[in-house]
């Protein structure tokens, strides 16, 4: 008898801090259960560069530049279920705090006028992805199936959510795991 086929899962961090990915690792011994059930596709954990066909895509972080949009669209195209994980993916989060300033002013403040700055100048290497005027939550760019709030969502919340999803249930966080902070 062959082993049951594993669920393919892809993950990415866009304009985020990798805190949500760290929280995923915080599920501790459940990691053993998780790798029994899932196979990771594109993810910072595998270093696979492009997303193949997957059941589940987990997106951490908001959308702050052109590359984020490409990655997000690739995920939407290849993942049956797309999940916004954490505050930044859901509402822009910390990176979106720059939305109250002009992008030009932000860049000048950091790369030109910062105290102690030597060799000042805004980076313009063509390899750098172009920044958007504003940071957006991912649901403003693509359709999102589920939202898992928290900054970051706790390991427990992530495990509860993934357990539901992998068992074919509609994920629903109990009150104690529902947090926006």
């Amino acid at each position: 008898m062959s082993a049951p086929e594993k669920t393919r899962v892809a993950t990415a961090s866009l304009a985020g801090c990798f805190g949500c990915h760290m929280s995923l690792l915080d599920i501790d011994e459940h990691l053993f259960e998780l790798v029994e059930k899932v196979e990771f596709d594109r993810s910072p954990l595998t270093d696979i560069k492009h997303c193949g066909a997957c059941e589940i895509g987990l997106i951490e972080g908001g959308v702050c530049n052109a590359e984020n949009i490409h990655v997000l669209r690739e995920f939407r195209q290849h993942c049956k279920i797309l999940v916004a994980v954490g505050a930044c993916a859901i509402n822009g989060g910390l990176p979106a705090q720059r939305n109250y300033f002009k992008l030009d002013d932000c860049l000048r403040q950091v790369y030109q006028y910062r105290i102690g700055m030597t060799d000042a100048g805004i980076p313009d290497d063509p390899e750098l992805p172009l920044l958007l005027e504003r940071v957006h939550p991912i649901h403003e760019i693509v359709r999102v199936d589920y939202f898992l709030p928290g900054c970051p969502p706790s390991g427990e919340a992530i495990w509860s959510f993934l357990s539901d999803l992998l068992a074919g249930r509609t994920p629903r966080l109990p009150y104690s795991l529902m947090h926006f902070d």
């Binding site: 109250y100 957006h136 900054c151």
Partner: protein, 234 residues
């Protein structure tokens, strides 16, 4: 004589002049609200207390209870509408919970938790609303205002100072300070005014006490607002 109406199929006793919400709370039954406060007349602006009374949408905080009324409140349909109202409040302002001192004690956040609002669904407006840190004891963060006017009412009707007001209409509506400069330090606002203690969200904050209560000990960390509110009122 004891008069009754039906709330979600169970009888609630009321006395003449009580609103649906007042009678429900007095009977230990919770109806969600944000702009309603037991010490003030109904305001009817947040619409979170929306219920169906005899099949019609009404604000439970404003409509007097009547004998034999059939009221629906805790139903998937009404809660869905309440969730949509919350989602609109969240995108209209800047509610970035992780950096807010009120997080865990915020009624807007607590309503969103209880109504399982996992996303704001609509596009965020990201309005630009600079804070006012001019006052020695109080910080005003206008980003989080939900226009409940509790500070306006408390300052006008109880403190007798008329310090706050809402100005402009529709999407441009915002909270202002009644001073020529527009700054709170140019008013006689004091940290022991009722208006300094009535904000349901994180607009009017006392300085030097932020994040004093750790996560796990805040108002809504363990119990939903429906339970906390009923415990407070009993």
């Amino acid at each position: 004589m004891n008069r009754e109406f039906m709330l979600d199929g169970l009888p609630v006793a009321f006395t003449e002049g009580q609103t649906i919400l007042q009678a429900a709370r007095a009977a230990g039954r919770y109806i969600p609200s944000l702009c309603w406060h037991p010490d003030f007349p109904p305001h009817g602006s947040c619409k979170l207390c929306i219920v169906k009374a005899n099949g019609r949408h009404v604000s439970a905080c404003a409509l007097p209870a009547r004998e034999g009324m059939e009221v629906e409140s805790d139903t998937p349909e009404i809660n869905g509408e309440r969730r949509a109202l919350l989602q609109m409040l969240f995108v209209e302002g800047n509610h970035f919970c992780p950096s807010c001192e009120k997080s865990g004690n915020c009624q807007l956040q607590a309503q969103a938790y209880e109504l399982e609002m996992t996303s704001a669904r609509f596009d965020y407006l990201f309005p630009v609303r600079p804070v006012d840190a001019s006052h020695p004891d109080i910080l005003l963060d206008f980003n989080r205002c939900i226009f409940c006017e509790l500070c306006v009412r408390a300052s006008r009707d109880v403190d007798g100072k008329h310090i706050f007001a809402l100005t402009e209409r529709g999407i441009h509506k915002h909270l202002v300070v009644n001073a020529e400069s527009g700054r709170l330090s140019d008013t006689d606002f004091a940290a022991d005014d009722l208006a300094a203690h009535i904000c349901p969200v994180g607009v009017i904050l006392h300085k030097r006490v932020g994040f004093q209560r750790p996560i796990g000990q805040r108002d809504y960390d363990h119990e939903p607002i429906s339970q906390v509110a009923m415990e407070e009122s009993s």
